[in-house]
Symmetry: C2
Subunit: 349 residues, 2 copies
DNA sequence: TTGAAAGCGCTAACAG
DNA sequence: CTGTTAGCGCTTTCAA
């Protein structure tokens, strides 16, 4: 069916000619404007179908200034990403909300330094109306770049900025990492545990820092031997646990900054012959049910509603993109949101 | 720094005015054309930086007809995708090759029926120069749509088409699933196994069908009780294995159509007290090392170079997009490629 | 209700 | 080496 008219994809003009009307009229029916005679509209729709016409978004965007697509940018080594159910939840919420608003989510990865300029050109190039940015590292250039381009953006997790920046100029959605960590550690204390270690995430990420801060809020004078840094992977958690056991064989509890790492820690504990929770109590963070429920023993962990956070981010972004920027002073940017966490007690502590 | 000139993002015109030259000259330095006096070029670069100018790709695309972005479309429930290291490898290869060609990969998901029209509009809207399409299901409308839009595309895995379609009109890259399966089953036979069962993938996917066909090539007269269908997940493999054990307690080998399923099957076998490979020999498919090497026992499986396949797909697509479509007859479309597989023998068979 | 015309921001000849 | 001039395909006043 799709006749190639001039060897190219059909344009509005082609459809118009075919239907014997003007471009304007075709444009009107394409965009669902009501003031077109039914018969004409029908004829046009026929022509569209016959020619297999699809509007050229680039051209449309040039005039309308938007194109119903939003970027989801993830700064993360891919191999980590695709193995971490955390993103899956986040993305599910985002997708759900975005499509509800008629926006197409497009996923972009940043894996190496070289990716920044290309991704920035893409973001600034008007391919998308806004961006949802994730897992920013310390001194990540993205927040500044996005801000400078004036592209509406919402961050997943508090952006960690270099000195001189205030994170309150950015809109973000984050879980109450610090409060959640505090609750977890307090719970361990309430259990009568005395030597409570912690396995942190990579400390160039806000979530890792905040969770450690929460731990320190409760246990300000922790000796270094009770601290080990992991990398939010199972393996990293296992290694950190081994290190901890070497440094402090007498520890009786450990607060692990993610479920993935906690499952690794559990494995090490088992290998070293420690029983959980009797010898060592373990509390994780995230409450990724596919993990937390199947560990041995099932994991006591800090719950956060990741999917809802994704939905929230998407909703906030859509709010900012659907309205043309207010003139005069800055538009009243939606405030950032910190969502509550809660401790879910299973068997590991 | 980024002064808002007319309250909008700066345009080429703004930069030109600022640098005291014409738009053309600015355009030249933006696009790295050499014939510009160094001093002028420098002045322009200064203006670009001061204004925070980023070219509007929509406008550029309108005239150049391309925009250095290609879509990677995945038709898969997200939760499956994000847990399957298979895609990780594929994507790694694709990304690598695409950025080498200066193209930005953008990932699109199709999860439900409603996603098709939106994704098609995106693909047809000229946001991307081409598309890499994955894990198509039987009767997936995507191949036809993409073909009809004239968007260059390369498929990952042989597309499964409804009747009346010949898959040879599409360019695809696929592993030799049938040959690999044949080799696996022959190996099992050579081991002296007599009752060789198989766990298939979902039979609406080409890879699953082809692997089953390979099994049947060697064992044409398999009784139904030796067949069970899985869904390419760990859980599915475990369930299928349980079913098989019920239906055919005397089986002495099983060819499992994916490593993920094989790891599930191994678990079931262990739970049922069968030793591997003594009681039951197991061969998987994919050779996802993060899985195959850590199963207990390590998995004998059919290896395919997934990352290289990704690279190949990207290379083929870039080849097709960088040249403007030849006039007259169809451009000599690159032939599809079937990459070889090889059996990797570890301990499970 | 429909059409004509003016641009959106950019590149690509073609002059100079 | 640089500026001028046309559009790319679409939406959007403004008239008819």
């Amino acid at each position: 069916m799709a006749e190639r008219l001039h060897g190219q994809r059909p344009t509005l003009e082609d459809v118009a000619r075919r239907a014997g009307v003007s471009k304007s009229t075709v444009s009107r029916v394409i965009n669902g404007e009501p003031k077109v005679r039914a018969a004409v509209a029908e004829r046009i729709r026929g022509a569209v179908a016959e020619l297999g016409y699809v509007p050229n978004q680039a051209a449309r965007k040039l005039v309308t200034r938007h194109n119903n697509a939003v970027a989801v940018v993830v700064t993360e080594p891919q191999n980590r990403l695709f193995v971490d159910p955390y993103f899956d939840c986040h993305l599910r919420g985002i997708r759900q909300e975005l499509v509800r608003h008629g926006a197409q989510p497009v996923l972009l990865f940043i894996e190496e330094q070289d990716d920044y300029p290309r991704v920035c050109d893409f973001l600034g190039g008007g391919h998308v109306d806004g961006a949802l940015l994730f897992s920013l590292l310390a001194d990540d250039p993205l927040p500044d770049m996005v801000e400078q381009m004036g592209l509406p953006a919402v961050f997943g997790g508090r952006p960690l900025l270099g000195s001189g920046h205030r994170s309150d100029v950015y809109t973000y959605v984050d879980a109450d990492n610090r409060g959640g960590a505090r609750e977890a550690v307090r719970y361990l204390v309430s259990l009568g545990r005395r030597r409570i270690a912690t396995i942190t995430g990579p400390l160039d990420q806000a979530a890792a820092i905040d969770r450690l801060d929460g731990y320190r809020d409760v246990l300000p004078a922790t000796p270094p031997r009770l601290l080990a840094q992991g990398d939010f992977t199972v393996r990293g958690g296992a290694d950190a646990m081994a290190l901890l056991l070497d440094q402090a064989p007498d520890l009786d509890a450990v607060f692990v900054a993610s479920d993935l790492m906690a499952s690794g820690a559990l494995r090490t504990l088992r290998e070293r012959g420690r029983t959980v929770p009797d010898d060592v109590a373990v509390v994780g963070f995230d409450d990724l049910t596919p993990i937390a429920e199947v560990t041995e023993p099932p994991l006591t962990t800090v719950h956060q509603d990741i999917e809802e956070m994704g939905r929230l981010m998407a909703r906030m972004l859509c709010h900012r993109t659907s309205h043309p920027p207010l003139r005069g002073d800055d538009a009243p940017s939606l405030a950032s949101v910190v969502t509550p966490t809660r401790l879910v007690i299973r068997d590991s502590a």
